[in-house]
């Protein structure tokens, strides 16, 4: 048969690889700074953009979508071409994809620093960026499917299946979770409220881990690990089972992020069951990766690429074992809201994602530059420094998380809580310090890699268009044995796309729909009223400053939490919360019942300098809130947006809102004056105080009646 000559596009691969390294460093340095802020609050520089609440989303978004995102694209653009024996479908689309993604990253960083955030973890980016992400994702999809459709290899290797599932599912997750009503060029309110918002968000959040940090990276593993070891994957059959089981089960596990919350019980249990089931495919995949090295362990001793991959796959196994463990209610009761979760995700992020990325870069960069790696020794050093970094990062945090949870739950013999919240924080500060040393080691390793790669690149020159040849696809495809149904799916990638979409969509819909349908899931509470205009403005400041990154608003029904914070949270309390602000970590105490707990002046002083009100507090200062003014011009638009979402403000209320806002603000201003604090009525701090004094008070007077009505 006539062989066709063609060229692989290595330029796009190179661009994505460089972007991986660049954003990796940015994201990790941001992470290092937030880690330092835990024991050195002054490291927030009393400057809004560098406070924890804004910097932490920069860190998570940069690491997930910029570092791992670019790594995935680099790996896909490299492997897909070779697995399909075809150049990427369109050079123009490759270019748009690359530059579009980088622009999104820059826009994301800028807006997050400026405080434009939706307040939903890992989906913080505001609506214009959400739209841009959708467009670029479609460009990527067309480019990928175009390549698959014009391929010269009749079979789709399993890595490509993972890429397809990734594309489909991320598209679905992103669109469903980003439903929002814009009320200004850069701000919007989540379409969903309270419990529903929480469920959609964690369905998204969990599956962002599954389909952005896991499935595409598994695709990379199935390509690069056999390549690096120079032997086929241990069991291809297992990889097929791994694929289908993983994408089917993963989509259901989201509710395990909401155990013991106000989410309906059945949804929590569903999340737990599927999380436990996830162990099987995850470990199948891990073993498949490790067994690929059977008989080749001597190579691991010499080859830093394999070293990185072995530890990466091991970390994948560890975190996918720990994940289901954490979704058991009794374990979750201890781990949730503590640093345990942070340790868990960093095993995944640093170990699995990071090490696959490093291994891939060390393997791929020399190849696309037609040269050898500059120094294996330096790469091995990077490996050891990085591994030590992971250990030093994770172990102290496991310890810290467990210790703190135990301290939270301890009572004295007299039945009083044994520790103040702040005591449980100051107790684990040494662990925070050690953690940041681990982070420092890890990022130092990356700098070693940068030096090594720069030297490698300089010793070669980019083979921008790598010559290759292959026979075109025959008209009649040769079959091995009997034609079978799976082959029928696999031969037609568009069908494959449709079927994997149906699979994940069924999972998603069945999980989400009931919460939307069943009224009894969210018992309405008569005393719960919409926020006043000032409180709404204050809530937006709460979201803007990222308070949810350290404070939960969810009292779980535990003895210690009820004793510490007050009545446990009910689903019906959050019906006007667009978005919900339950949070996922308690670096500071829960705020679900903060309303009315302290006088206005306490909040004023506390926000100005937390350590004056709670000595030893590690909360950053917020001095700019005293001077910055709220934008009252936006109040009517905000009210109208809320009305569109079903919040029962009276008709025409948007026009009266500012008058009521000022009346309430003046009251707080007078109140502060009594305590000798002078402030402008339209200062941000006034709105924030109004909001904080409102949180959780709706049901205080009616607790007894409400409990009776729930029964």
């Amino acid at each position: 048969m006539q062989v066709e000559q063609f060229y692989y596009d290595n330029r796009t691969v190179k661009n994505f690889a460089y972007a991986t390294v660049l954003w990796g460093i940015v994201g990790m340095l941001a992470g290092l700074l937030v880690a330092i802020q835990f024991y050195l609050p002054a490291a927030s520089f009393n400057f809004a953009p560098t406070t924890f609440g804004r910097l932490r989303p920069v860190h998570t978004n940069a690491v997930i979508f910029a570092f791992v995102g670019n790594c995935i694209f680099a790996g896909i653009y490299y492997s897909l071409q070779r697995l399909c024996k075809a150049r990427m479908f369109s050079d123009l689309l490759s270019k748009i994809h690359f530059w579009g993604w980088q622009l999104i990253i820059v826009a994301a960083a800028l807006t997050l620093f400026m405080g434009y955030t939706t307040g939903k973890e890992y989906a913080e980016l505001e609506w214009p960026i959400d739209i841009a992400i959708t467009l670029v994702w479609v460009v990527f999809g067309i480019n990928m499917f175009g390549t698959i459709l014009t391929r010269r290899e009749s079979h789709l290797y399993v890595a490509i299946w993972f890429y397809i599932a990734t594309w489909v599912t991320v598209a679905m997750l992103h669109i469903v979770n980003s439903f929002e009503i814009p009320f200004s060029p850069l701000k919007s309110y989540s379409w969903y409220a309270g419990v529903q918002d929480a469920l959609v968000q964690w369905w998204y959040g969990h599956n962002a881990v599954a389909f952005f940090l896991t499935t595409p990276v598994l695709g990379l593993m199935y390509y690069f690990m056999p390549k690096a070891a120079n032997r086929p994957v241990y069991s291809y059959r297992l990889s097929i089972i791994h694929f289908w089981a993983l994408i089917f089960i993963y989509i259901w596990a989201g509710p395990h992020h909401l155990l013991y919350t106000a989410l309906p019980d059945w949804a929590q249990s569903l999340g737990t069951v599927f999380s436990i089931m996830l162990i099987a495919p995850s470990w199948g995949g891990m073993l498949n990766g490790l067994f690929t090295l059977r008989g080749a362990w001597d190579k691991v001793r010499e080859d830093p690429v394999l070293k990185f991959m072995v530890v990466a796959v091991t970390c994948y196994g560890m975190s996918t074992f720990e994940g289901p463990l954490l979704s058991l209610k009794n374990v979750n009761a201890i781990s949730h809201f503590t640093d345990w979760t942070i340790a868990h995700v960093h095993i995944g992020a640093m170990g699995w994602n990071g090490f696959i990325a490093f291994g891939m870069l060390y393997w791929m960069i020399p190849r696309i530059f037609g040269t050898q790696l500059y120094s294996k020794k330096l790469a091995t050093t990077h490996f050891w420094v990085g591994t030590m970094g992971i250990v030093l990062y994770a172990l102290p945090l496991y310890w810290a998380g467990f210790t703190q949870a135990m301290m939270w739950k301890q009572f004295t013999e007299e039945g009083q809580l044994k520790f103040q919240f702040l005591e449980t924080v100051t107790h684990i500060i040494p662990m925070y310090i050690t953690r940041s040393v681990g982070g420092l080691l890890y990022v130092s390793g990356v700098f070693i890699m940068v030096y090594n790669l720069v030297k490698t690149v300089k010793s070669g020159s980019l083979v921008a268009d790598e010559a290759a040849e292959a026979a075109p696809l025959p008209k009649v495809i040769e079959t091995h044995g009997k034609e079978y149904w799976h082959r029928w799916i696999e031969r037609k990638p568009v069908q494959m796309l449709v079927y994997s979409f149906i699979l994940v969509a069924i999972g998603g819909l069945l999980e989400l729909i009931p919460t939307f349908l069943v009224k009894s899931n969210i018992p309405t509470i008569a005393s719960v009223k919409p926020y006043t205009p000032l409180e709404l403005q204050g809530r937006d400041i709460y979201i803007k400053e990222g308070c949810y990154t350290c404070h939960s608003q969810m009292v779980r029904p535990f003895r210690d939490e009820v004793a510490r914070y007050g009545e446990y949270s009910k689903a019906g309390e959050f019906v006007y919360d667009h978005p919900f602000q339950w949070g996922s970590k308690r670096t500071g105490p829960d705020l679900a019942r903060i309303g009315g707990k302290y006088p206005d002046s306490w909040h004023y002083n506390h926000m100005f300098d937390p350590s004056t009100m709670s000595p030893g507090s590690i909360m950053p200062r917020y001095p700019w809130l005293m001077d910055a003014k709220i934008d009252t011009a936006l109040t009517p638009a905000k009210i109208r947006a809320m009305q569109t979402l079903g919040v029962p403000y009276p008709v025409g209320y948007d026009q009266q809102a500012n008058a009521e806002l000022m009346a309430q603000a003046n009251k707080i201003k007078d109140n502060l004056k009594k305590d000798k604090i002078e402030t402008a009525a339209d200062a941000e701090i006034v709105a924030l105080i109004a909001y904080l004094q409102r949180v959780g008070v709706d049901i205080k007077g009616e607790q007894k009646a409400q409990v009776a009505s729930l029964k």
């Binding site: 290899e153 390549k227 059959r237 089972i241 089917f248 040849e469 044995g481 009997k482 349908l517």
Partner: protein, 58 residues
């Protein structure tokens, strides 16, 4: 504008859990049966796709 207002009549939530499990289980069983019955030569061929390069760089 809340979904709840349109579709509040659904009852029998347990069917969602049950249905989902059955769906998964059936699919998984069929897939597993196929995987283990699949032709060995095909499986070997598939697993060697990454090495089937005309440029044979590695």
């Amino acid at each position: 504008m809340k979904f709840i207002n349109y579709l509040e009549s659904t009852t029998g939530v347990s069917i969602y859990g049950l249905g989902s499990f059955m769906l998964f289980f059936t699919f998984f069983v069929f897939m597993a049966i196929w995987v283990f019955k699949a032709d060995k030569r095909l499986i070997t061929h598939l697993s060697e796709i990454p090495f089937d390069h005309s440029d044979s760089k590695s």
